[in-house]
């Protein structure tokens, strides 16, 4: 089963550029969903105005809440979320982050799409300007860019 799932993921991963419309792969225990721009833009969007270590000054980021891309009420306290980028950079963060703060999957920066060359297409953004406690290095590592995959790992 695991091998099967892994091979499916691999096929999907290599197939991303072929099916250009797939922007984000969402994995939950129930299964896998591939979201294209239309699906992403259909989700309720949240705007976060913030700065971080990788940009100068305050920028406006817009996109769906990380807690909502898995389906309404799916993310619970104590769960973990594993995020993977196009360059295979991956990070696991506590779902509490997404529940406690307005953590978004930014699809636009200052109203414009972000290219792969510039941290696109999706950049995970924490509202660091609003919550100074989020400026600690541990959160800095969670600002994953070129996001391609989000997986919900429920608490055991």
């Amino acid at each position: 089963m695991k091998v099967l799932l892994a091979s499916v993921i691999m096929i999907c991963a290599t197939a991303i550029p072929a099916f250009a419309e797939t922007v984000l792969t969402v994995i939950t225990p129930e299964g896998k969903t591939e979201l294209d721009w239309a699906a992403l833009d259909a989700l309720p969007a949240t705007t976060v105005k913030t700065t971080n270590d990788y940009v100068d000054g305050i920028h406006t980021f817009t996109g769906p809440r990380l807690s909502e891309i898995f389906g309404e009420g799916k993310v619970k306290e104590g769960d973990e979320i594993r995020l993977t980028a196009l360059n295979d950079y991956a990070v696991t963060l506590p779902a509490d982050d997404a529940l406690d703060y307005a953590v978004i999957l930014a699809t636009t920066q200052d109203g414009k799409r972000m290219s792969v060359r510039d941290k696109g297409p999706i950049w995970v953004i924490y509202p660091m300007s609003e919550h100074p406690d989020l400026r600690a290095p541990v959160y800095n590592d969670r600002l994953i860019w070129q996001l391609s995959k989000a997986e919900l790992v429920p608490a055991k």
Partner: protein
Amino acid sequence: MILRFTAVRWLGVAIVLLALILNGIGLYRIQSSLDQLSDSRRGGALWAAMQLELEFLRLERALLDFTGAGGEITPDEVRLRFDILWSRNSIAASGTDGRLTVSSPDAVATLAELGDALQQQEAAIGDLQAGDTAAARSILDGIRGFSGPIHDYLLAAKNEQSDLDALSRDQLLLISRIMVFLSFLVGVASLIVVAMFFIDSRRHQQVSAQNAGLLEASRAAYKAKSQFLSTVSHELRTPLTSIKGSLGILKSGVLGETAPRAQKLVHTAYDNTERLVLLINDILDLEKSETGVLSYRFAALDAGQLVERAIEACRGYKAERKVKLAAQIEGHDLLVRGDDGRMMQVMSNLISNAIKFSNPEGTVTVAARRHEGHIEIAVRDDGIGISEQFLPQVFEKFTQEDSSDTRSAGGTGLGLSITKRIVEDHGGQISVTSTLGQGTTFFVRLPELAAVQADAAA
């Protein structure tokens, strides 16, 4: 010695405080050093350089795969790798938080040149068609030369990070050494301060023990002296009583007429003997009042009658001064609870004082009345008065305003002290008002005894 002691102690306290402040500064400095130490965060120089090299190698491999097997790999995948390398290059070039990730000039140049090379290949990558191995090979040739410089860039990043680490480590080591030294200093200084306080308190204990000893000794000496005084007074009284008795018999003429001149001498001798008896009684009373053994027999006492009897008793006193005595009694049954003998002592003391300090042919008025739940007895003279400075001291022992050898009044200066003690033992108060040159009034206020209580007391 004491000054040096205090100085050392304050120096100790100052050292402790200074060391604590320096420790605080040291801890604060450690924070910034820790920030620089092993900056392995995603934004750190080393991570950025490693990712740059990794993505360069991945693009290179994608292009090689594309030229070799073809078909296995799509142009879109090559373009994705190209875009990611582009992003890594711009991240390394722009740095984190305004800081260049690697600052050596060669490294900066490498990034700029790689950026230029990527821009030159941009169009070719965009136009890359499946199976177009020639185009892929041309792109590969365009970037291949960067393999060495990018690795050098990684090494430069690694070196800069190690230098930074070493610097931070040295700083941390220095700071921690200083802090160890300061902590040691704090410990030593604290010990010194504690020792100082300990020694100081020991010395205070010694001094206070010495003081207690001195106090005890002086008390004993005082007691011995007053006991001596009391014994001597007692011993004096016995012969004095016999002298007074003999003189009294001589004076009365029972033993036959004496010559008028001798009679006068006998009178003088008798008066002075009486005075001497009064003085000795005063001294004995004082001794008793100090040791707290004045004894009382309390009974209901009419203040009006007391005043009249006291005036009668004092009539003969200093008759040559021709001072008039007047009683002013308001109301009846001015009852108090008192010892008849002691209260007579109080009254005669006050009245004889008044006569003594009154002007010749003046008037001493003794008044008794009911006033605000008390019985008030006032003894008023129209004499020289008491100065404002001396007034608060009149009830103290051995004091008379004119204590020079030429004083006119005589007496021990004990009378008012004993009077005050007796009045207070009766639950009353004594006070005085005076105007210099116009006269003095002493007030004795005693609690009034209600009729019912008077019966019980009687």
